[in-house]
């Protein structure tokens, strides 16, 4: 079981209020991702849940029990750190066995659990090496291994993939998702990368300056962002925002349209502009269109074979039902 409830939790460092009163419920077995720009308080929030920081006020409940004052070890949570935080002078086996040894488990049970974790994570071939002799991906696995042997009620991940190269990151992303499918344990995952959030999460929590901007499934956030911040943060490339007369036509202060919801044509359309830089990804091409009179740049996703070049005139037509409307305060108009 791992149902975690935050009730009016706040955190301040001296005079600086990092997290204003915040309520959040994480259901048992959920994969929750905290996402937001750097400095938004997502890591602090994770550390509050872990118990590595003390809350300034409010209550944290784990499975209904008040855990606000409990030391980290007593909360039954396991954490994977950004730097992996493996113990450099211990072998992989000892690293993984460490939490069990601290729990005074008997040696036979420790061996059994360590071997099982080694099998699950495929790290049996380097179990007697030291962390210094491992690659980044292998260290990551060991860190996860150290977390799973304790059979915690929830896993906490603090930007675990940010130290890996791009190819490895995609692989580990899948592995962590698979691990979640297999263990069905609550996982809380902190990242600044919205792609990781979209691909892995059951539920995304978008944070900005300590405030929860929106909570929902990846597709909810994509389809119906509650405000401009979420609209701009979720989705890649970023949503185009248009203000002024064009927005007024839709009775809004700002309208947003995603690059993939604009139809581009060389001959006709609602808006016109000049093609600037085009980024070719093979399957798709992202056109950066200038001189539309709407916004400085409008990004459009077109087919990879789309023939326009730098300087050509392009016509854009927004898909009418995909236009997001926001009021002057930046909130979504339903």
């Amino acid at each position: 079981m791992g149902r975690i409830t935050l009730d009016k939790v706040t955190k301040s460092f001296g005079d600086v209020n990092v997290i204003p009163p915040l309520d959040l419920t994480i259901e048992d077995g959920e994969f929750v991702v905290f996402v937001g720009p750097s400095g938004c308080g997502k890591s602090t929030l994770l550390r509050l849940i872990a118990g590595l920081e003390d809350v300034s006020s409010g209550q944290i409940r784990i499975d209904g029990n008040d855990a606000t004052e409990l030391p980290p070890a007593k909360r039954g949570l396991a954490m994977v750190f950004q730097s992996y935080a493996l113990y450099p002078h211990m072998s992989v086996r000892k690293n993984i066995a460490f939490p069990l040894k601290m729990a005074k488990m008997d040696q036979a049970e420790i061996d059994k659990r360590v071997n099982k974790a080694a099998e699950v994570l495929n790290l049996a071939s380097y179990i007697d090496r030291r962390p210094g002799q491992l690659s980044g991906g292998q260290r990551q696995r060991v860190a996860i291994g150290r977390a799973i042997v304790r059979e915690p009620s929830a896993f906490l991940f603090d930007e675990p993939l940010s130290n890996l190269d791009a190819a490895l990151r995609v692989g580990m992303r899948l592995e962590i998702s698979e691990l979640h499918e297999r263990l069905k344990t609550t996982m809380i995952y902190v990242t600044h990368d919205q792609v990781e959030a979209m691909t892995m999460a059951d539920k995304i929590v978008v944070l900005n300056a300590g405030n929860i901007e929106q909570v929902g499934s990846p597709l909810d956030l994509y389809r119906e962002p509650r405000n401009l911040f979420v609209a701009g943060f979720i989705g890649s490339p970023k949503m185009n925002f248009i203000e002024g007369a064009e927005a007024a036509k839709h009775d809004a202060a700002t309208i947003g349209i995603r690059p993939e919801h604009l139809d581009a044509s060389a001959t006709e359309g609602t808006w016109t502009g000049k093609v600037g830089v085009s980024e070719h990804l093979g399957s798709d091409t992202f056109l950066h269109v200038h001189d539309t009179g709407l916004a400085e740049t409008i990004t459009v996703r077109v087919n990879g074979e789309f023939g326009l070049r730098h300087g050509d005139t392009v016509y854009l037509t927004p898909q009418a039902d995909k236009i997001h409307r926001f009021d002057a305060a930046g909130l979504r108009i339903a």
């Binding site: 935080a85 460490f98 939490p99 601290m102």
Partner: protein, 287 residues
């Protein structure tokens, strides 16, 4: 190609320094070796010719020889134990954020800047004096008979004085080592359920092992040759005659340079034995 050239160029440029250092080491070493085979008594007849191995047998045959070795090892061992144990504790303490941290750190390091003769005299006269020393006042305050430090606890006194001087060095090196410990490792161990003592034992101490090794090796080199502290306190009496002090007595007080030089060669051998011994024990920490 380029590396070949720069390598030979580097060798040529380093040569003067290496030659100088080599000469610096070899000249006194050869002089000592040469003198150890002569019967040389500067104020009592001068160079009395070749002596063979007589100096060596006489030095080792002297009744002061083995006690001096034991004394040397006790002092070195005692000071190492005290400085490392208290060095680790002080470093842990100084690593905590606290008010006036900068001043406290400088105060802790200060004893290292006091000259050995000065610090030994201060200890001897201000703290350990049986009638007027602070420690005797303390003893009397509790109604106890003051300890006559220099004669009754002579070895312990010297160990205390030398430890006081070397504690800052150990603390400084261990403090920098503690500061380089990754905070996430401590947090991880906290999450893993390790209580404070287990964190110290399994995370901090292994992290410090390399620094402890360095402290051990460097201090041993210097402690084997302590002299001033003994000279100004007990003058080698009351069982505080170390090998270094014995050599000093042979050469200066007995005017037997040949005999003393033979002792010097023994000292070199002792230092090497200790060094090899230490490297064996702690060498694996320096891999």
């Amino acid at each position: 190609m380029a590396t070949q050239h720069s390598r030979s160029a580097a060798r040529i440029m380093m040569a003067p320094a290496v030659t100088l250092l080599l000469g610096w080491m070899l000249v006194p070493l050869t002089a000592t070796l040469y003198l150890s085979f002569r019967d040389y008594r500067p104020m009592r007849g001068g160079d009395l010719g070749f002596a063979g191995f007589e100096n060596y047998t006489r030095f080792i045959g002297s009744s002061s020889f083995w006690p001096s070795i034991v004394t040397t090892l006790i002092i070195v061992g005692g000071v190492l134990a005290i400085t490392i144990v208290f060095g680790v504790l002080l470093a842990l303490l100084l690593d905590r954020p606290m008010w006036g941290q900068g001043v406290v750190r400088i105060m802790v390091i200060a004893p290292f800047f006091v000259m050995p003769t000065v610090s030994a005299l201060v200890w001897k006269n201000m703290f350990m004096d049986p009638t007027n020393g602070l420690l005797s006042h303390l003893w009397r305050f509790f109604g106890a008979e003051p300890v006559v430090w220099m004669s009754e606890q002579s070895l312990l006194s010297i160990i205390i004085i030398v430890s006081w001087q070397w504690l800052p060095f150990a603390t400084l090196i261990l403090l920098t080592a503690i500061q380089s410990l990754d905070g996430e490792q401590l947090e991880a161990s906290e999450m893993d359920g390790a209580p404070v003592l287990a964190r110290f034992w399994y995370i901090i101490l292994p992290h410090l092992s390399r620094a402890i090794t360095i402290v051990l090796l460097i201090q041993t080199i210097f402690l084997l040759s302590i002299f001033a502290e003994i000279f100004v306190t007990t003058g080698g009496a009351f069982g505080t005659k170390t090998l270094t002090y014995l050599i000093f007595q042979r050469i200066i007080e007995s005017q037997a340079v040949g005999l003393g030089s033979a002792g010097g060669v023994y000292a070199i051998i002792l230092a090497n034995i200790v060094a090899i011994f230490l490297m064996r024990i702690v060498g694996k920490n320096l891999d």
